[in-house]
């Protein structure tokens, strides 16, 4: 973000400091926190039956008349120009309808970048798409072939000959560090944080640690490949997409093709896993352009190889963390510096130092991160951007410090957990990470841990235990809109252009609406997944539940007003103001006076209406400015490391989460587990192979990028503090991303406990434990 935005955010923060907390939206805690009926109960997914039957339809499965299939040809150099482009053989190959290159592609504008301020933009790789002969990264699309079948398109694509004039490219991380930039801000925080003098603290410290940690490129690797089925009807564009940014995609495509947003319809009722990787990339734009040229609908379903060339991943990081502590463990200084890749055409920060600004109460801070510019496809957000690699470094360092101090790692954290934000001084909306530690430690059996490394062994297997803190900030998006339609039978339908990627969106918001409106679950339907519905912000930053929740809450307020108006005077509710009534038993009644009640059915019937509709919008998230709002977790791991081969086997994981109220224990536990399992992958196996000589990603098949398999995943115990956050809708904070955070550190810490070997570079593959 710009300096200007920093100033605005900072300014609002200062102003808000004088406002009493309950002035804020959510200042009076959401009454649903106390009055829960279905919220907090186990509910199976509403879309479960369709999914297990294979009847849920994904983007590449939408049938269309006259469909053409697309295949991409990618550049094989990182930087330079196309000098030769021979498409003759492809054009005459069987079944081919079109070969599109920069010579015949339509004029298109550069996609607008994803931004926290512009929710109608979803662009990741902010470069011209097939507009010139210039090559900007290894893997850029230089031609798209459309044919009657996928086999024909793939074959024709292989017949295209491309010649290049190579230019000097920057593809080496180490080398590019010298030219690293230091951005003014990260997300909406100021980048550089200096408080006190960490250098002095480090010198004077009773104990200190200072080390470099590294994480590699990661790919989201959803099981559903990125895909879109696209059709034009005149100037109207229909895109069946796999996206977690419906309105962002529609808005961006409108800009790219110079049409109105209302002329673009994007549908994505089911997404086969997103994790940050399902936004707008070149393929939707190329597919739409080719469909326009060919005058026929197009399916562009990326091969795994095309995915690594066109869908960016999580940047690698190199992080230095130094901690200075007094003999009692209290932090005197915290330094967190580092580098990640973010070329100028990338919209996404890998803000790995953010956690270090709020997690511990250090006397002094020195925090800043730098970005490296390479000629590569833009990096992007991936589950818990920033926090996932950041907690690996910080929480490994805390473990190292505990070891140095001869102190229990949990005790070290207890001594440093702040009672308010240690930098801004803002109060926590709710925070009790130590309760999470206590509950988790008990369930895990932390007291059985031997403090000295290499103390436990079974045959060739060394056994170790470790823990770490996970963290992810709360976010709520303004502008998220829902429509609630109440019909004559008392059935409510909630609709919004929200997303379902496995989080159980419809399931949970159905529970929410039922409780909010005093209806049984069966009387609520939730419709999501396309842009014909009211505006939805993206599914990211773990913000969707709170944003939708706020919008539904707002809509319910309007519904009360509307119902009171319709009810008129001939009703037990006559003369009541909205603040005096509550939703209950499928109707409205006066708070504290149960006899003054009328049902929705009766109100609508008397008013001769078969339905009424209201919309509600998620307001500006002012609570985020006033309070320090973070979800935290305590992660515990027990594992085995082979003293022969260095193989690591995770035997047990426990995660205890302090994330506000849990709305549906069943789907929430799955979200936490899912994140933690991605954490296992991050810790042990995941690494995209980037060839620094050529800037080419070599892990081009799913067999080359090891996501956890069933055998890598032990039973995972999930617990939560379940303390409501009084500043959020329903008392809940987001839960989608925090699961992955802290896991890699907990595993690395356990591996140290098992072997005595500290590995500071992910992933923890067998070779890293072979040599002492």
């Amino acid at each position: 973000m710009s300096k200007l935005q920093n100033a605005i955010v900072g300014g609002v923060r200062t102003a808000m400091g004088y406002v009493p907390g309950n002035w804020l939206p959510g200042g009076t805690p959401d009454p649903l926190i106390e009055r829960r009926v279905t919220l907090g109960t186990q509910q199976s997914r509403v879309d479960g039956p369709d999914k297990v039957r294979g009847a849920a339809h994904f983007a590449a499965e939408v049938p269309m008349e006259g469909l053409l299939y697309a295949a991409c040809v990618h550049s094989t150099i990182p930087r330079g120009r196309i000098t030769e482009l021979d498409v003759a053989a492809a054009e005459t190959a069987p079944g081919v309808a079109l070969v599109m290159t920069h010579r015949n592609a339509p004029k298109m504008a550069v996609p607008p970048p994803i931004g926290l301020t512009n929710l109608k933009a979803a662009g990741n790789n902010i470069l011209p798409v097939m507009q010139d002969a210039e090559i900007r990264w290894n893997g850029q699309t230089v031609a798209v072939v459309l044919a009657e079948t996928q086999e024909q398109a793939d074959l024709a694509a292989s017949l295209i000959k491309v010649g290049y004039e190579a230019a000097v490219a920057r593809t080496r991380f180490e080398k590019a560090k010298a030219d690293a930039r230091t951005p003014d801000s990260l997300m909406i925080e100021k980048n550089r944080l200096k408080k006190g003098d960490v250098a002095v603290a480090l010198q004077a410290a009773a104990r200190s640690v200072d080390a470099i940690y590294r994480t590699p490129w990661h790919n989201h690797t959803p099981i559903e490949p990125n895909a879109a089925t696209i059709a034009w009807k005149g100037d109207r564009l229909t895109v069946h997409d796999a996206t977690q940014m419906l309105n962002g995609t529609a808005g961006s495509l409108a800009k790219v093709f110079g049409i109105k947003e209302s002329q673009v319809y994007v549908s994505s009722p089911f997404v086969g896993g997103g994790f940050g990787g399902k936004a707008l990339w070149d393929h939707q734009i190329l597919g739409a352009a080719a469909a326009k040229l060919a005058g026929r609908p197009v399916r562009i379903a990326l091969s795994r190889a095309s995915m690594v060339r066109l869908i960016g991943g999580r940047s690698p990081t190199e992080q230095r963390v130094a901690l200075a502590a007094a003999a009692d463990g209290r932090l005197k200084g915290l330094l967190h510096h580092g580098f990640s890749v973010k070329p100028p055409h990338s919209a996404c920060d890998e803000a790995f130092t953010l956690t270090s600004r709020s997690l511990y109460a250090s006397e002094s801070f020195d925090v800043v991160q730098h970005t490296i510019d390479l000629d590569v496809l833009a990096n992007t957000f991936m589950r818990a951007p920033g926090e996932a690699p950041g907690t690996f470094a910080l929480e490994s360092a805390m473990d190292e410090l505990a070891h140095e101090l001869g102190m229990d790692p949990i005790e070290l954290r207890r001594r440093n957990v702040p009672d308010r934000n240690p930098v801004s001084g803002a109060p926590h909306s709710q925070s009790d990470v130590m309760l999470a530690y206590d509950l988790g430690a008990k369930r895990f059996g932390w007291d059985r841990r031997a403090a000295a490394p290499r103390s436990r062994r079974e045959g060739e297997w060394l056994i170790g235990m470790g823990c770490a803190t996970g963290s992810f900030p709360y976010a709520r998006m303004p502008g998220m809109t829902v429509r609630i339609t109440l019909d004559g039978s008392g059935h409510a339908t909630v609709s919004s252009a929200a997303h379902e990627m496995g989080m159980g969106t419809a399931t949970v918001q159905r529970q929410h609406t039922a409780d909010r409106l005093g209806l049984p679950l069966e009387s609520v339907t939730v419709t999501i997944g396309d842009t014909s519905l009211p505006f939805g912000s993206f599914a990211g930053g773990s913000s969707q539940t709170a944003s939708l929740g706020a919008a539904i809450n707002a809509a319910s307020g309007k519904l009360a007003v509307e119902l009171l108006r319709l009810a008129g005077n001939d009703t037990p509710l006559a003369g009541l103001r909205p603040a005096e009534i509550e939703f209950v038993n499928g109707g409205l009644r006066k708070i504290g006076e149960p006899s003054r009640y009328e049902s929705f059915v009766s109100i609508l019937k008397r008013a001769a209406r078969d339905q009424i509709s209201v919309t509600g919008v998620s307001s500006a998230p002012l609570e985020m400015l006033k309070f320090s709002m973070h979800s935290r977790s305590a992660i515990f791991c027990e594992l085995l490391v082979s003293d022969v081969t260095g193989e690591v086997r995770v035997d047990r994981l426990v995660g205890c989460f302090d994330c506000g109220r849990i709305l549906n224990p069943k789907t929430a536990a799955s979200q936490f587990r899912g994140g933690m399992i991605m954490g296992i992958g991050m810790a042990l196996t995941e690494e995209a192979l980037f060839d620094e000589r050529t800037g080419r990603v070599m892990s081009a098949s799913i067999a080359d990028y090891h996501v956890p398999a069933h055998l890598d995943v032990p039973d995972i115990d999930i617990l939560w503090t379940d303390i409501p956050d009084p500043r959020t809708p329903m008392g809940a904070r987001g839960i989608g991303e925090i699961g992955i955070t802290g896991v890699a550190a907990a595993i690395a810490n356990a591996a140290f406990n098992a072997t005595g070997k500290r590995v500071r570079e992910l992933p923890l593959t067998p070779d890293k434990f072979l040599f002492a």
């Binding site: 192979l689 060839d691 070599m698 067999a703 055998l711 072979l770």
Partner: protein, 328 residues
């Protein structure tokens, strides 16, 4: 994928005669060949489907086994005689790929599967001598974690990815072939070739030749055998290093020992030197390590796979230890 003709052979003779007609390839389960064709690495004019040839697993007059080439990897893996008499083979098969792939894959196809070198697979963007003789090898200075430490050449450092073949090498299996010129037999150890000047020639198979079966001889070492695979992911991943070993100890001395390594060369690597050092010796941990050390002394590693030398050493010693009950 290029267009091709598809024909299914009812018996071996028919298979041979169809294959003789042109640029044809035999098709087993297709788990490797179909993928390579889709990547445009292979482009046969015709496929002769031999996966339904009436093959089976039979006992030989000498008490060994003859396993038809069309039998699936899973059928072999769970066959009672394999489990009892050749456990290393059973386990090597079970360590490979996934259950679905093992159900599809044939014995013949498994032997002839090609390397998983990422540069070999990157048809459009990387140089590879195996794909395109003379083009160069991008793996030598590139990502070569999965590459060879034995028998590599300046042309190619790829490994053969099969688990099954490692056990077959240790068992000294015989490959039965049928070609236009008739039947012949080749030791599995002689079947795959080291890259040398011609990494594109991977085996001694002649044009049109069909693998019809593999034959195993019984032995005490085969019956007392193990397979251990070390990999980056606990399952459904190729080997970094694997070890197949069998041991017969008589009167406190090693009478017979078989050791083969996987993931280290363009062919399953029989640890002849280590075996020689162990034969006649007492089975102790120190001896095992010493023998493994001696074998690995000849290894030549690259920047991405230097760890394999130590890993292979330790794994050999550990597997032998497990076979004798001596602690690893």
């Amino acid at each position: 994928m290029r267009s091709f003709d598809y024909r299914r052979a009812a018996d071996r003779t028919e298979a041979l005669s169809i294959a003789g007609e042109g640029r044809a390839r035999y098709l087993g389960g297709g788990t490797n060949l179909v993928d390579l064709m889709r990547q445009n690495i292979e482009a046969p004019a015709a496929l002769v489907d031999v996966s339904r040839l009436p093959d089976s697993i039979e006992e030989t007059p000498t008490g060994g086994l003859i396993i038809g080439a069309a039998v699936s990897n899973s059928v072999v893996a769970v066959h009672p005689a394999v489990r009892t008499q050749y456990p290393m083979l059973s386990r090597a098969l079970l360590a490979g790929a996934s259950a679905q792939i093992r159900n599809m894959a044939t014995i013949g196809g498994n032997i002839l599967q090609r390397t998983r070198c990422a540069y070999f697979y990157d048809v459009a963007g990387s140089r590879c001598n195996k794909r395109e003789p003379g083009a160069g090898c991008d793996a030598i200075d590139g990502h070569n974690r999965y590459h060879a430490i034995f028998g590599a050449s300046e042309r190619c450092i790829a490994t053969h990815p099969s688990d099954m073949c490692v056990a077959l090498a240790a068992l000294d299996a015989t490959v039965h072939l049928l070609g236009p010129g008739g039947e012949r037999e080749v030791r599995l150890l002689d079947f795959h070739r080291l890259p040398g000047e011609h990494p594109e020639i991977e085996t001694v198979l002649r044009p049109g030749e069909l693998i019809t079966a593999i034959e195993l001889d019984p032995s005490a070492a085969a019956a007392n055998s193990r397979y251990r695979k070390v990999r980056d992911r606990s399952s459904y991943a190729f080997a970094l290093v694997s070890v197949a070993a069998g041991l017969e100890v008589v009167g406190g001395r090693i009478e017979d020992v078989r050791i083969a390594l996987g993931g280290v060369a363009a062919k399953p690597w029989r640890a002849v030197r280590a075996e020689g050092l162990l034969r006649g010796q007492a089975p102790t941990r120190a001896r095992f390590l010493e023998a493994a050390d001696a074998e690995l002394a000849a290894a030549k590693s690259f920047h991405g796979n230097a760890f394999k030398v130590e890993l292979a050493k330790r794994t050999v010693a550990a597997v032998l230890g497990e076979l004798t009950g001596a602690d690893a």
